[in-house]
Symmetry: C2
Subunit: 204 residues, 2 copies
């Protein structure tokens, strides 16, 4: 749905373009200006600086997660948290290049407060809530880190196969690592994510 330079421009339209550029591997003020049909300097009418754009983008992405999953009264709390964690991981992995921004800005924005509150509904102990958030964001950060900045995200099974093929260690030096090669290749799998989350939740 490319539209070229907009007739009437608003901050949301600028963010749309910024996200596309970030996904494509390079968000610069100059590229962003060109994308929305503006001169670089004109962007400063909409945002004070580049950092503000990145923060707004992070908050918007976090907002795409479905916090309603946490508040579904018909399901067990652990079930709700698992559903939300899987959903959040999926949402964030649609834009892996934005993950560093999420980590850098996640809990300052208005949407972060909404996520935190909903999490406390399902998991009233704040220490437990934060531990879950640490796990989810940590797992996604490590998963996103090994993706090419540019280009679409390959299917999970392809990424695992690529990890397995590329994996080599000296069996003499690292025997346990060598023996665990299959499991290590699958570190980024949904199954691993779910396994760790289940372990964690079972003690919270």
């Amino acid at each position: 749905m490319k539209r070229g330079p907009q007739r009437s421009l608003n901050p949301e339209a600028v963010l749309d373009a910024a996200l596309e550029l970030m996904d494509a591997g390079g968000l610069t003020m100059r590229a962003l200006a060109a994308r929305v049909g503006l001169t670089p300097g004109a962007l400063y009418t909409y945002f004070p600086d580049r950092a503000a754009i990145v923060v707004a983008l992070a908050d918007r992405l976090l907002g795409e997660a479905d916090v309603g999953l946490l508040e579904d009264g018909d399901r067990e709390p652990h079930e709700r948290i698992t559903a939300f964690a899987l959903n959040l991981r999926q949402v964030l992995m649609r834009h892996p290049a934005a993950m560093p921004s999420i980590l850098g800005a996640a809990f300052s924005g208005p949407v972060a407060a909404r996520v935190g509150e909903s999490l406390l509904i399902a998991l009233p102990d704040p220490r437990a809530s934060y531990t879950v958030m640490v796990y989810v964001l940590g797992a996604v950060a490590l998963e996103a880190a090994e993706l090419d900045a540019a280009g679409p995200v390959p299917p999970e099974d392809e990424r695992i196969a690529a990890r397995r093929a590329a994996f080599t260690v000296d069996p003499a030096l690292f025997p346990r690592t060598h023996a665990a090669a299959d499991a290590i290749a699958a570190y980024i799998s949904t199954e691993q994510f779910r396994w760790g989350l289940e372990r964690l939740l079972s003690s919270l």
Copy 2:
């Protein structure tokens, strides 16, 4: 131990200077060259590009953690892992500005293999090992993210007090968050880190 331009320069000396610049909040090839008494172009004799310097730096930092803590046969596995996790957190928090690089490159370097192998000694199930690593790196990433890029890291109690003072949410909209303000301010505390880790380990 400032020495100015070196007589004989090696890659390690370049990395020393690079780490200082990263801690100071800005690692650029030009600043790095000036720091070691070189012209920017000369750096490409030591490293192929800036990314290679960052990766080497990340691996070096990870190497400062004491993997021996994981292999101490006299102590319980969970005790060893706790000691190592606290040590790794401490080591990484000495250079918070390098944390994005750690996340971005942590498991490609040679030192990462050593850490992984040692972790498998204390925690033989690779899925469990990875879950611990996700927790530690996730917690440190979130803690490091809210620090100023430049300048030294303030003491933990000061950082918690600052978080508490800055914390405000609408009690009507976010009642649980409002009630948990003290615990939320302490999310970055050693106590919270230890609490989450203990919960996690108790089920692994």
